[in-house]
């Protein structure tokens, strides 16, 4: 550690407002007709020796984020500082050093290794690519490292297919460590593994973290893994970080409704507790056309409604509105042969009397539109009479119990309380 440049309190990695957009192009001239906002203004820091978790569903942009940090994807905007220096301004020599100091472990151990290359050589590849030409020296380092990750020095001469998944993942970790990195980016390193093997790999990573004094960026959709391994965690949804903080705090008392949904979707180990949290709707919106305001509002069980409505009424109406908007109509409603209004009302469990006249009328219209088989008109009507601050305004990042959260319910300037069970 003493060899490392003195960085003071500078975090090892600082990401500020990072964006990665993919242009959607059309035709021969590749005219840009839209953008997939895979990563859209993300900020976080990883401190030295820290394990930082990044969780989210597939499509949340977490892997793209990891690849963008590594320079595998081009940044659209924002800065990434490593050891205080923006990586976009590195000289060639510094860039090489950056590439050595940040290593990647990929998800699927079965495709982590070139099947035609002996694992010894594969693990040594980072050394060779970093200019170590002395084959004997490479071999010595690799043999030593293989033993450190629980394999045998003699394994260097075997081919990848001769190893089990867990062993391959050990090899992948060895390959990442071989150039003595400061940060290892692990992209779902355990999601293809069995529970006990997973447990072993996590234990190995933990040991490695202490022994080699590396920081870890842990990209995972597995909350169990993050819970037991990461010091801090950021929750990603549609290219944005919605909540970030120390793992215990975030997972024990989630502030953002999306975090709650994510945690509540994981079945409990207690067979007598079989409740699962349901988001309002199931469709993950298209990142090329993310919802306005809060991106989670089409699915958020806590989405904020008009003042005029009671919580219970709003809950049902919100569900109605966003179900219609996303088109997730239940089987009972076939638009080609729509049922009558009464059926529609009962299918959606709509409240009979709504205090607010405009809303009541709008809901009636929407039901009528549905009974005509006109989904779009129904959605339009509902959007008009049931506005939500969540769809109109992008939530500011506010600090809740010392950690940044992006949700109107936690914004003191918005008239809505966090829902707490």
């Amino acid at each position: 550690m003493t060899e490392r440049p003195d960085t003071g309190d500078e975090p090892l990695l600082a990401v500020e407002e990072l964006e990665r957009h993919y242009p959607i192009t059309e035709g021969w001239l590749r005219r840009e007709v839209g953008r997939v906002r895979a990563v859209d203004g993300v900020s976080f820091e990883i401190r030295e020796g820290e394990a930082f978790g990044l969780v989210g569903e597939s499509g949340s942009g977490k892997t793209t984020l990891a690849h963008t940090l590594l320079g595998l994807e081009e940044r659209t905007d924002g800065t990434v500082r490593f050891d205080g220096d923006p990586i976009s301004e590195l000289s060639d020599a510094e860039r090489r050093s950056f590439r050595r100091r940040v290593q990647l472990v990929v998800q699927d151990p079965n495709e982590a290794f070139n099947p035609r290359i002996r694992v010894g050589e594969a693990v040594a590849e980072p050394l060779a690519l970093n200019g170590m030409d002395d084959g004997d020296r490479r071999r010595a380092i690799v043999e030593d490292l293989l033993e450190r990750v629980g394999l045998d020095a003699a394994d260097t001469d075997r081919y990848p297919h001769e190893f089990s998944d867990g062993e391959k993942q050990r090899l992948a970790i060895a390959r990442a460590l071989v150039v003595d990195p400061d940060l290892v980016v692990a992209d779902e390193p355990t999601s293809a593994l069995d529970a006990r093997v997973k447990s072993d790999i996590l234990a190995l990573l933990e040991a490695v973290r202490r022994e080699f004094d590396v920081s870890l960026l842990f990209v995972s959709h597995d909350i169990d893994v993050v819970r037991r391994f990461c010091d801090r965690v950021a929750v990603m949804y549609l290219g944005e970080i919605v909540e970030r903080g120390p793992t215990d705090e975030v997972l024990d008392s989630p502030a953002h409704p999306y975090t709650e949904v994510l945690l509540g979707s994981e079945p409990s180990l207690d067979p007598s507790d079989r409740s699962l949290v349901r988001p309002l709707t199931d469709t993950i919106p298209d990142p090329a056309d993310p919802p306005s305001g809060c991106r989670f509002h089409t699915r958020c069980p806590a989405v904020i409604g008009p003042d005029a409505l009671s919580a219970a009424t709003w809950e049902r109406l919100a569900s109605f509105r966003f179900t219609v908007q996303t088109g997730e109509l239940p089987a009972a409603i076939d638009l080609a042969d729509p049922p009558d209004r009464a059926t529609i009302r009962s299918v959606f469990d709509l409240p009979g009397a709504i205090d607010d006249e405009a809303i009541a009328e709008g809901v009636d219209d929407a039901v009528a539109a549905l009974a005509d088989g006109d989904l779009d008109r129904a959605a339009e009507r509902l959007a008009a009479v049931l506005p939500s601050v969540c769809e109109q305004q992008v939530p500011e990042t506010v600090t809740v119990a010392g950690r940044p959260v992006q949700c109107h319910r936690h914004d003191p300037s918005i008239d809505a309380e966090p829902r707490s069970e």
Binding site: N130, G131, I141, D180, D213
Partner: protein
């Protein structure tokens, strides 16, 4: 695993001392540069100073120069890596040894290569000898009336029919001009070898380069290259050859250029689609995150993994070119002086005396050689595909 108490025992690498610029001087590049320089120097000398006679009275033609350059390329990027990576080569060699069919096919092609490159220089052109036309091969007999002389025994048949027996003087017989079919075979082998060398040294790398570039770069460049390949696939090579033929006449160089340079599309496509598939594989992503160049990744990670499809495709391409050359020669549009197998077959099929089946050896012997070459190529293609896959070992 040992308790992680003895922290960080392994050799500390002083990274600032390790040269990370990558080597620019590699054995491959050295050989390539030196070899090409020598060929270029010889060519310049030949062109501007005096004719070079490398061996005996062999006047070096443009095709010869091209093939020499091709041999340099093949040496640099075929032989040198094989020697440098002895271990892998030995593994492949031992796997080959277990497959007698592959060994036989490789021996045949190896023999063809030696015969095609060395023997023509020693033997020179097949000599005309009208006095000994249509001599049958050893062990066979033919009508003695077709030729003024008979090198072997003359046997009396029924009535006035007399037969000329084959002799050691012309073991494979002779054609209508008294040329030894054996010599014709050797000349044809030279043409075939040229086609193989040209294809492997120029056409395949070109196809690979285009495929890799299109696959890795993507975007507009990919569009352009893909469209170009599509267009190219629509142009019949023979048409272009005939256009050229009208200007320069029959020429092997023209044939190689038109057929070779119009036929690599399918291989390029194949490489491109494989690159696209492998690009997302973990080991490629890791290598790229380490700053490896596209070429490094292609050569080390992509191409070795696509040998399953690439090797047979390349071999198919080579075989196709050989057959195309023979076909053009058969039609009579190639340089007759080269004595391609195709033209010898054509000659044997329309003899000036007797019927084609009476002088069968003139056409059959080169036809067998052609067929054996194509079959051997196929066998080598399939065999190498299996041998190169370490998972196939058992």
């Amino acid at each position: 695993m040992a308790a992680p108490s003895d922290r960080h025992r392994f050799e500390r690498v002083d990274w600032s001392a390790v040269d990370a610029t990558g080597r620019t001087v590699t054995p491959e590049r050295t050989i390539l540069a030196v070899g090409l320089l020598v060929v270029a120097a010889l060519w310049l000398y030949d062109r501007y100073v005096a004719h070079v006679y490398l061996v005996a009275d062999w006047a070096v033609t443009p095709v010869d120069w091209a093939v020499m350059a091709g041999l340099v390329v093949l040496t640099a990027y075929g032989v040198v890596p094989a020697v440098g990576n002895r271990e892998a080569t030995l593994r492949v060699a031992s796997a080959i040894r277990d497959r007698p069919v592959l060994v036989a096919a490789l021996c045949f092609l190896g023999g063809l290569f030696v015969v095609g490159t060395v023997l023509p220089l020693v033997l020179g052109r097949p000599d005309l000898n009208f006095g000994y036309a249509y001599q049958p091969p050893l062990g066979f007999a033919a009508d003695a009336g077709w030729s003024p002389n008979c090198a072997g025994e003359i046997r009396q048949g029924a009535g006035i029919q007399r037969y000329c027996e084959g002799s050691l003087q012309a073991p494979l017989g002779t054609n209508g001009r008294g040329q030894l079919v054996g010599s014709l075979l050797v000349s044809g082998a030279r043409v075939a070898t040229y086609v193989v060398v040209f294809a492997l040294a120029f056409v395949v790398p070109l196809a690979t380069a285009v495929g890799v570039t299109a696959g890795f770069r993507g975007g507009r460049l990919d569009d352009v290259l893909r469209t170009y390949v599509d267009v190219q696939l629509c142009i019949p090579a023979i048409f272009l050859y005939f256009v050229g033929y009208m200007y320069v006449g029959a020429s092997l160089a023209l044939l190689l250029a038109t057929f070779g340079l119009l036929s690599w599309g399918p291989v390029a496509r194949l490489v491109r689609s494989e690159v696209l598939q492998r690009r997302e594989d973990g080991y490629v992503v890791v290598a790229r995150s380490l700053g490896a160049s596209d070429w490094y990744v292609a050569r080390r990670h992509v191409l070795p993994n696509v040998t399953n499809t690439l090797v047979p495709a390349v071999v198919h391409l080579v075989a196709l070119l050989i057959v195309a050359e023979a076909g053009v020669a058969f039609l009579g549009f190639s340089d007759v002086e080269l004595y391609s197998w195709g033209s010898t077959i054509a000659e044997g099929l329309s003899p000036d005396r007797g019927t084609a089946h009476q002088v069968w050896w003139v056409s059959t012997v080169p036809a067998v050689a052609l067929a054996a070459t194509v079959v051997s190529l196929k066998l080598v293609g399939d065999g190498l595909r299996d041998v190169l896959d370490p998972r196939g070992e058992h």
